[in-house]
């Protein structure tokens, strides 16, 4: 009870915190409309009116053009592949108003195709983004005019276009610099991501649609998520029986791949940087080869080298170590899953160890030598020094790298896809023994066309990786001391 009492006011406070800025900005709108000049008032309806009023013609023209363009976009609904943008796209987002299509006129050869639901969703979200942008511009155009009003009030001249541009090079430099990335991220990352998340709530599954002989799909709420547990739906058995094993292996893989490469790299760096060792540079160069050669080359080379009739098996057979070729990479149904798992981790070391080696070489050289001197005076052994000085120091410095490489390994598509293709496969399932969530996702979507199931897997993967990243990153020294670098 006590705690409930003490919590109550806090909750209230939070709520007010949340609504305060909203209230303020609403009040701000009212204030600007009431206090503003005629131009500012007009700006609420016609973009740039206030700027024209203040003789800022270029700025005004830009605002006006933007408004006209967006309105044109919204009203006239340009279309791609027959699917419109604009207000029609908003209406289409419900996926209610769809046409099966297929009217054909043998005389003229005219064929009318049905609605394209995936484009309806995509374009719907694009249109929503455009509307948000419309209101941002709206707000900005009012603000711009109101600022000119205020400048006038205190006897200053409204800023000229040139002055605004100049500002972009100085106090608003970040706007100039970040804009291209923001736009690009919006178009190429955020919109596609929203689109993908949306697919998880639909029946967009090429196989099911083929069965029904339709091109159309619709929203179906959380059914795809519950399928993970119930096994219903066209990929139900697959998801139900394979989701947990794949998830488990993804984690095991990520842990092993990260740690083996990490410690392997440190050890290799220590070896190469050993005092008195000659030819450091040559050794380092040798190991860098695997970083420099594109992965699809080096990994496919290994895959073929380890193949059933490849040189490695032939060598082992000739040496009498084995009498029959071994399926190291589980490319065949019935090959050992555990062997394939061990092999991918080993081959991954081949690719990843040099990377850590390079990275830690620099760090090793930065370890203050007096630490070692002091230890040596105390008579500490080399091994002890490694565990007491070197390792703690390196781990301390490279924690952020450990996290990012762990997350990177969860999403490590190339290694698995090129080496084992997810094999050994199991009769009747897409997900094989070494499939990670991400390669499974590839099979389910690209090979199988089950976009909704793929999206569900993708969302799970994202939740896992994003949580790990954010939680550990927020706790890391780098993040918390971030501001001290300012």
């Amino acid at each position: 009870m006590d705690s409930a009492l003490s919590k109550a006011p806090k909750n209230k406070l939070n709520l007010r915190d949340f609504f305060e800025p909203l209230r303020k900005s609403l009040a701000n709108f009212g204030k600007r409309f009431a206090d503003g000049s005629l131009g500012t008032k007009l700006s609420h309806f016609i973009f740039g009116a206030g700027n024209f009023y203040h003789k800022q013609y270029i700025k005004g023209a830009i605002f006006l053009l933007l408004q006209l363009a967006i309105l044109w976009f919204m009203i006239f609904c340009p279309a791609v592949n027959g699917t419109p943008y604009g207000w029609k796209a908003l209406a289409n987002l419900s996926l209610k108003n769809v046409k099966e299509g297929g009217e054909f006129d043998p005389a003229t050869g005219h064929f009318s195709a049905g609605s394209d639901c995936k484009l309806m969703i995509l374009f719907g979200f694009v249109t929503i983004a455009v509307i948000i942008i419309y209101f941002l511009i709206w707000n900005m155009n009012i603000g711009s005019s109101y600022k000119a009003d205020m400048d006038k009030k205190i006897g200053k001249k409204p800023t000229t276009f040139i002055e605004d541009l100049r500002e972009l090079l100085d106090s608003k430099f970040h706007v100039l610099m970040l804009t291209p990335t923001c736009i690009a991220a919006m178009v190429f990352t955020i919109l596609p991501t929203i689109f993908m998340i949306a697919l998880a709530f639909t029946t967009y599954n090429s196989q099911d649609m083929n069965d029904l002989g339709t091109n159309l799909f619709h929203w179906n709420g959380l059914q795809n998520f519950s399928a993970v547990f119930t096994g219903e739906g066209s990929l139900g058995v697959e998801i139900k029986n394979r989701f947990l094993p794949v998830l488990g292996w993804t984690f095991i893989w990520a842990i092993f791949a990260t740690l083996t490469c990490y410690f392997g790299g440190i050890i290799l760096a220590l070896l190469i940087n050993k005092k008195g060792l000659k030819g450091k540079k040559i050794f380092r160069t040798v190991f860098i080869f695997t970083i420099a050669v594109p992965q699809f080359i080096s990994l496919l080379a290994v895959r073929n080298l380890l193949g059933e009739y490849g040189p490695f098996n032939a060598m082992l057979i000739n040496a009498g170590i084995i009498d029959k070729a071994v399926g190291f990479l589980g490319l065949h149904v019935g090959d050992s899953e555990n062997l394939a798992k061990v092999m991918v981790i080993i081959v991954n070391m081949w690719v990843g160890v040099p990377y850590t080696m390079l990275m830690t070489s620099g760090i090793l050289m930065n370890i203050p030598t007096d630490l070692y001197e002091a230890a040596r005076v105390d008579g500490a052994s080399t091994l002890k020094m490694f565990f007491k000085i070197t390792l703690p120091y390196v781990i301390f410095v490279t924690t952020p790298y450990l996290i990012s490489s762990f997350v990177g390994n969860i999403n490590s598509f190339n290694t698995i896809f090129l080496l084992t293709g997810g094999g050994p496969t199991y009769t009747g399932y897409q997900a094989g023994g070494t499939d990670l969530l991400v390669t499974w996702l590839y099979k389910v979507t690209i090979d199988q066309g089950s976009y909704n199931t793929g999206a569900v897997i993708g969302i799970f993967t994202f939740i896992i990786t994003a949580t790990i990243t954010l939680v550990t990153y927020r706790r890391s020294k780098a993040y918390n001391e971030e501001d001290t670098f300012q």
């Binding site: 690009a184 490279t398 994202f462």
Partner: protein, 311 residues
């Protein structure tokens, strides 16, 4: 006595050191060989020129590590062959990739540096949220975005445009370089180390942020510029999935070299006897990239180290 003891100790120590040094040499050489074997094998396969007794060329993976006969046939075939109906496809793929890589490299490096500079040296309202979002947004598996990106690019005519297949190359460059800005973390780590005092004093001298960026930061940032350029230049040589979707399975003339090589090996090619030709292609692709890497090794190491420490 103590002196003698010490002398013995020093001697035994130096012997122990010699032994351990020798062991290190041996270990490193063995590891080095293990590391190079697959790559050497690819190079050997590229020069393999074996024939059946009746003169049929053997282009498959064979069980002998060292070829029974060497020759340049794979290379000459590779450079002259018609793949997917495109005469001399391989040189075209090389050229396409080179063009894409150079443009992507310029745009990406610029974007990365500008974002990293803002995040490191400028203060503004949305800085922290931007950093958090950029960190996780890239974690979404990309395959699903692929369809969305395809249709967004198609909306502006930059892909799936049969009358202008060359436009999809622009589309691909856009798609490659667009996301680059979000990978600013390494460069930011580097900029963070540049003392703020330098920036402050320049500000006192009346420099604008733009001038500071151009005149102070960029000249100091040579290593990170080279690192970023190297990273974004090598990217297009390695991607074999995205490029095929954006350029189009039918536009073999505009493919990148990795899409082409991957298709040689895994496509339902009428003649799958192409491993040695694939190997030759790998050598042609890898040699310039490896050379570049070796020359710029020092900058790469700097970048990697900066990235590791700053995450």
């Amino acid at each position: 006595m103590s002196l003698m003891k010490k002398g013995k100790k020093v001697r035994s120590q130096s012997r122990a050191r010699k032994v351990s040094l020798g062991a290190t040499y041996i270990l490193l050489v063995v590891l080095g060989i293990i590391w190079l074997v697959p790559l050497i094998w690819i190079v050997l396969s590229a020069f393999r020129c074996e024939y059946q007794p009746d003169g049929t060329f053997i282009g498959r993976v064979t069980s002998n590590f060292f070829p029974k006969a060497y020759g340049l046939k794979n290379f000459t075939d590779l450079f002259t062959a018609t793949y997917y109906g495109v005469p001399k496809a391989f040189p075209r793929w090389m050229l396409n990739t080179l063009i894409i890589a150079i443009i992507d490299c310029i745009i990406s490096t610029f974007l990365v540096l500008s974002v990293a500079y803002c995040m490191s040296k400028l203060k503004f309202k949305l800085r922290k949220p931007f950093m958090n979002i950029s960190m996780i947004i890239g974690l979404f598996p990309g395959f699903m975005s692929m369809i969305a990106i395809y249709f967004l690019l198609k909306s502006i005519g930059l892909t799936g445009n049969p009358s202008h297949p060359e436009y999809s190359v622009i589309g691909l460059i856009l798609a490659y370089s667009a996301g680059a800005g979000l990978g600013f973390q390494v460069a930011k780590g580097f900029f963070d180390v540049i003392p703020n005092a330098l920036v402050e004093s320049a500000k006192l001298d009346g420099c604008t942020n733009f001038q500071i960026f151009m005149k102070i930061i960029l000249p100091l940032a040579k290593p990170i510029i080279i690192y970023q350029a190297l990273m974004s230049f090598t990217g297009p040589w390695m991607d074999f999935i995205f490029a095929k979707v954006i350029i189009g399975a039918d536009n073999a003339a505009y493919w990148t070299v990795s899409v082409g090589l991957y298709s040689l090996l895994f496509g339902t090619h009428p003649d799958t006897n192409l491993f040695t030709q694939f190997a030759a292609g790998c050598v042609v692709v890898a040699v310039p990239i490896v050379t570049l890497f070796m020359f710029l090794q020092q900058y790469y190491v700097e970048g990697v180290t900066a990235g590791a420490v700053k995450g």
